[in-house]
């Protein structure tokens, strides 16, 4: 039995690796995506099951306890509301990185000093990336959950300090690779990495967290791949590489959609100074009541809804679904324009709207949406701000200049639903609000949409 497993294990792991690849491949489009999850989960079960049969396992007691605890925490974490997904993701990176760092630590104390140089190098990388990702992810979680101040915390010489800490950690790692017997250095090595994780996130504003989370995802993946090198386990290398590429690509997509560089996200202290500039505004915006908005929507034939972070905050998606239903029934064509960085994580708006049962073929990507606006009667901006800011197109001095935006101002009427004139994530004023074809409807997105729906329904029964 045990011999059989020993021989079959590499093949089982290979099958699991193939299942992960297929899972991600099938995730590329909605119709095949669920099949992907099933196959991925199947491969995972297979690999775990086969591993449990390994003859080196002396006792199952602690494994069973850990499974029970993990499941007991994992299930509620999967049941969080969709609006909490960014925080949840940060937290899960912390867990993943912690697992890698702990296994690396255990391996060090089990195998050093009789450990090969190359395995020790991979182990140091695993522990370094794992540890810094743990604290960095926890910090990101704290900022997103607003347990910590979301504004960037910056001071003079910060980058020099951070780089020195990282340099020290890396140096400790190198020494450990050259002298694996220097066990006294291992705890400070971990400590420095943990500290660097904290310092890395301090200067980054709360709203840059999604990009940071994606980068941390890539680090966690690399750390898992390094663990694969340590344990000579190709399945871990493959899963880690897939995870790493995913994190890398998502952060590149986000940076491109914000027209910013990695360096600017990590060291820019974005969202810090610009906030003060907003107060100087003297122009006036026209505002209107939800009933007026209902009137305008009623007489439109093409409406494009532009959801943003505010819709997530207000949890307005179900009310939006009601609005969609009532307008569609009245013969109005309604679509949703989704900016790639609307909200606080990639695809954020899509899951929220899908949660409210809005068909996904009504969700239009940026480029197609921008072709639609000139023909639209109404653009209904729901708690979106930066992603609609025309300054990105025209104002070279703006911090978001060059960011691709949704051209809502090209539609006949723009209705903007938000609570106040205060700025969005980028901390800058939005000239859209002062245009002649713009009407502001102040209030919580959920409440306002609710009132619009009520007005439309009342009208319908006349």
């Amino acid at each position: 039995m045990s011999l059989m497993i020993g021989r079959a294990l590499p093949l089982i792991y290979l099958a699991a690796a193939a299942s992960f690849i297929l899972a991600l491949k099938w995730l590329s489009a909605v119709p095949t995506a669920r099949r992907g999850v099933v196959v991925g989960a199947g491969g995972m079960l297979l690999a775990v099951g086969a591993t449990l049969l390994e003859p080196t396992i002396a006792t199952y007691r602690w494994i069973a306890v850990a499974f029970a605890v993990g499941t007991a925490i994992g299930i509620p974490m999967a049941m969080m509301p969709m609006t909490a997904v960014p925080q949840r993701t940060a937290l899960s990176h912390a867990f993943g990185a912690l697992a890698a760092a702990l296994v690396g630590t255990a391996e060090y104390y089990l195998r050093a000093p009789a450990i090969g140089r190359f395995a020790m190098g991979a182990l140091a990388l695993e522990v370094l990336l794992g540890s810094l990702t743990v604290t960095a992810s926890l910090m990101a979680f704290g900022k997103l959950q607003e347990l910590l101040p979301t504004r960037p915390v910056v001071w003079r010489g910060q980058n020099v300090l951070n780089l020195s800490i990282f340099g020290l950690a890396a140096a400790a790692g190198v020494v450990l690779v050259l002298h694996p017997e220097a066990a006294w250095l291992f705890p400070p090595f971990i400590g420095l990495a943990l500290l660097f994780g904290v310092l890395l996130i301090l200067p980054i504003g709360g709203a840059d967290m999604p990009t940071v989370i994606s980068l941390l995802n890539a680090y966690a993946g690399l750390s898992a791949a390094a663990m694969g090198f340590v344990l000579d386990n190709k399945l871990l290398i493959i899963a880690g590489s897939l995870d790493g590429s995913s994190g890398l690509i998502l952060s590149i997509i986000m940076c491109k959609a914000m027209n910013r560089s990695f360096a600017n996200v990590l060291f820019g202290g974005f969202g810090q100074i610009q906030a003060q500039a907003a107060g100087a505004e003297t122009r006036v915006a026209r505002s209107a009541a939800p009933e007026d908005a209902a009137e305008i929507l009623r007489s439109a034939s093409r409406v494009v809804v532009v959801p943003g972070y505010g819709m997530a905050v207000a949890q307005a998606q179900h009310k939006v679904r009601e609005l969609y239903d009532i307008l569609t029934k009245a013969g109005v064509t309604v679509t949703f324009a989704i900016h790639p960085v609307a909200g606080r994580m990639p695809g954020h708006m899509n899951v929220l709207l899908a949660e409210a049962n809005i068909p996904y073929d009504k969700l239009v990507e940026m480029d197609d949406a921008n072709a639609e606006f000139p023909q639209a009667d109404v653009a209904l901006v729901l708690g979106a701000n930066d992603v609609t800011n025309p300054a990105a197109r025209s104002d070279k001095g703006s911090p978001i200049y060059g960011m691709p935006i949704l051209d809502v101002d090209k539609s006949r009427t723009v209705l903007v639903v938000k609570r106040s004139m205060s700025p969005g994530f980028a901390g800058i004023d939005n000239p859209l609000y002062y245009l002649d074809n713009t009407l502001m409807i102040f209030g919580d997105a959920k409440a306002v949409v609710g009132e619009i729906v009520k007005a439309l329904a009342a009208e319908g029964t006349h």
Partner: protein, 97 residues
């Protein structure tokens, strides 16, 4: 050891190329489920943790291994579950609620 390094590098390079190729093609519609699914997949670190926890070589390694198994299990269970939950929400027009 050197042979392991070589093999590991080949696997790493191929898997990274493959990952970049596949993930570039994921529809933006599904970027959130993508994040949770890769999260679940990387919980495969559990197989390394299981060995460390089960071998019972030293108390330290057993404790560290057990905590690592628990952490990975959170992501494994939570990751697949939430991805599934999200994907069940995506519907085409005209296909009931």
């Amino acid at each position: 050891m050197i042979a392991d390094l070589e093999t590991g590098l080949y696997v790493f390079v191929l898997a990274t190329f493959l990952g970049l190729e596949i993930i570039r093609r994921v529809s933006p519609l599904l970027h959130t489920p993508l994040m949770s699914l890769t999260n679940a997949i990387s919980a495969i670190t559990v197989v390394g943790a299981i060995i460390v926890a089960g071998e019972q070589k030293t108390t330290l390694s057993t404790v560290l291994g057990t905590v690592a198994v628990a952490c990975s299990t959170i992501n494994l269970v939570g990751g697949y579950l939430i991805t599934w939950r999200m994907l069940r929400m995506f519907r085409k027009s005209g296909k009931g609620t």
